[in-house]
């Protein structure tokens, strides 16, 4: 891989990392509320996957969505304003951290029902196929989603109808506090996907280069009309599931072990020439600006509470 691309990857991952750290700070200050799920440790996945997409492609993801939103190119300002519940937020403050949306980048959320986004992605891909649009729909979800019936139904539909979907499982080993071994009789998720005759593979989710390569390959396969592809990314979340979590379910040593595989660290080891300090400085500014933007955002009038329940009330 070229150094330029590596730099780009590093910068994006660092942006996510620092953004998430700022979120923690803002959560403690009660600027952000509700559930807050951090992406720290998993940055390589969002960055590697989004790199393979073209602007027209569609993205569906879960409540742990800041990383994907940033990597997809939604402005930090609008993401943070969303978490502040401001009109300038990418969902006008209606969605919050778990429900980031953005029409410009075809970012369809931010779904807080585990596995709830899979059928939507299948439907989007169906629309693409019917309309003969050469698009890819990426559908991201966690290992916890694999146990849900909707996982099964959706994979079957996608395979049966040869739909242009890229399924990406962020397997971080835990669904909240429940380890994968307590939720799946077959813990190799890529094998499960293969049982639907879907082209399926496992990749090191801490290695952004590996993820990006797998994603590129998958996206080409899909664009060639070969139907869905499934990528299982082996990863780990360095932080708690959300802001309320006693983390009784895993050993500190396990966390430390995984931190040795920190995606930023790994990439830097491979490309020592990346000028980290430069990015740090840039990113501090970006994030400070985002905080300013969010702070100065507008609270929607309570009179407008019932807007957006139906389209006739959509503000033009």
């Amino acid at each position: 891989m070229e150094l330029d691309l590596a730099r780009e990857f590093y910068r994006k991952m660092l942006l996510i990392r620092r953004f998430e750290e700022k979120c923690v700070e803002l959560y403690s200050k009660e600027k952000i509320r509700g559930f807050l799920h951090l992406y720290i440790g998993e940055e390589a996945i969002a960055v590697g996957i989004m790199d393979a997409l073209s602007p027209e492609d569609a993205v569906f993801t879960t409540y742990r969505d800041h990383g994907q939103a940033l990597a997809r190119g939604i402005q930090p300002n609008r993401i943070l304003a969303e978490m502040y519940g401001k009109v300038e937020g990418c969902s006008r403050g209606r969605g919050g951290s778990m429900h980031l949306f953005d029409a410009h980048t075809h970012f369809y959320g931010g779904n807080a029902i585990v596995a709830g986004g899979l059928p939507l992605a299948v439907g989007m891909a169906l629309a693409d196929k019917m309309m003969k649009r050469n698009r890819v729909t990426v559908c991201i979800f966690g290992d916890g989603a694999v146990a849900e019936g909707e996982f099964h139904e959706s994979l079957n539909l996608a395979a049966l109808w040869h739909l242009p979907v890229l399924f990406v499982c962020e397997n971080n080993g835990y669904a909240m506090g429940t380890a994968l071994e307590f939720t799946e009789s077959e813990t190799n998720i890529s094998l499960k996907a293969a049982a639907y005759r879907i082209s399926s593979r496992q990749v090191d989710g801490m290695d952004v280069v590996a993820v990006a390569e797998a994603a590129q390959e998958a996206v080409s396969e899909i664009r060639a009309g070969n139907g869905p592809v499934f990528i299982e990314c082996l990863t780990y979340r360095f932080r708690a599931h959300s802001m309320f979590d006693a983390e009784r379910y895993r050993e500190k040593s396990e966390v430390e072990e995984w931190k040795k595989k920190d995606p930023l660290l790994l990439l830097h080891q491979r490309f020592p020439n990346i000028d980290i300090d430069k990015y740090e400085t840039e990113i501090v500014q970006i994030i400070d600006e985002a905080v300013d933007f969010a702070e100065n955002g507008t609270l929607e009038s309570i009179d407008d509470l019932e807007k957006f329940v139906y389209s006739c009330e959509v503000i033009p």
Partner: protein
Amino acid sequence: MSEKITYREAVRKGIREAMENDKRVFLMGEDVGHYGGSYAVSMGFLELFGSERIIDTPLSESAFTGAGIGAALGGMRPIVEIMTVNFSLLALDQIMNNAATLLHMSGGQFNVPLVIRMATGGGKQLAAQHSHSLEGLYAHIPGLKVLIPATVQDAYDMVALALADPDPVLIFENVMLYNIKGELDTEALPLVIGKAKTERTGKDLTILTYGISLFKALEAAEILSSEGIDAEVIDLRSLRPLDDETIMNSVAKTHRVMIVDEGWKSGSISAEIMARINEQAFFELDAPMGRVCTVEVPIPYASHLEQAALPSTEKIVTMGRKLMEKS
């Protein structure tokens, strides 16, 4: 142009014309293709439109309903057929948590122009798991619209009406109606969602109803009329939104109200209608309102028990008499 056709043919015609007029419209559901639709609504459509637009789905209510939502987001105009409302519970998460909320959660960015049709209702001795009437439950959900055609005309018109809507619309077709014939005027004025229709005018008593119960109510009104009770019968047609205006105007005229619906009594849509009349027209009431609903029991198989559980012309007549007594 006017013709006499069955309710089934009316729905069928509505879908066929919509598909002919708009390439974005397609039909998806269990057995809509090769089988021809479990109630034969789409018989022959597979041959007519091909398997790209008449899509037989696996038994995966949640995923194919969700796929309908996704396809709607993607610019199509899907008609998802859930074989019967009984199976829609498997898709309720998709309907409530996605179809009904996406527009709002996205701050107005993503609307969901999806139509979901379901067969509904009891009366065919299909027992506890196959005889639900859950339209009232769906009418509780903000973000959805809930239409119930009772007549052949509405069965036809509501397909286009629902497809023209930018948001998710549910259409409930009562299984007992498919074979009923009625007049269809294909050049009738376009409908508007949320307008009730007064099917019989009267001055003594307002009967509010919809779907299959409309016919029972009309029959009961004739019997009551022979006893000197002049009932007004209103077909609500839409349960979300409800047509408060038509309802309250009628109450202001008759001062007595009966509601007939096939939901289980407690928590059925009739309760909501009573609540609204209480709120908006309390001082117009001369007597307590009455309701005829389904008895609160999982529907039994045995015919005499099933019939005893469902609203009937007789029960409506009895309730009508009772309401006229009180004051």
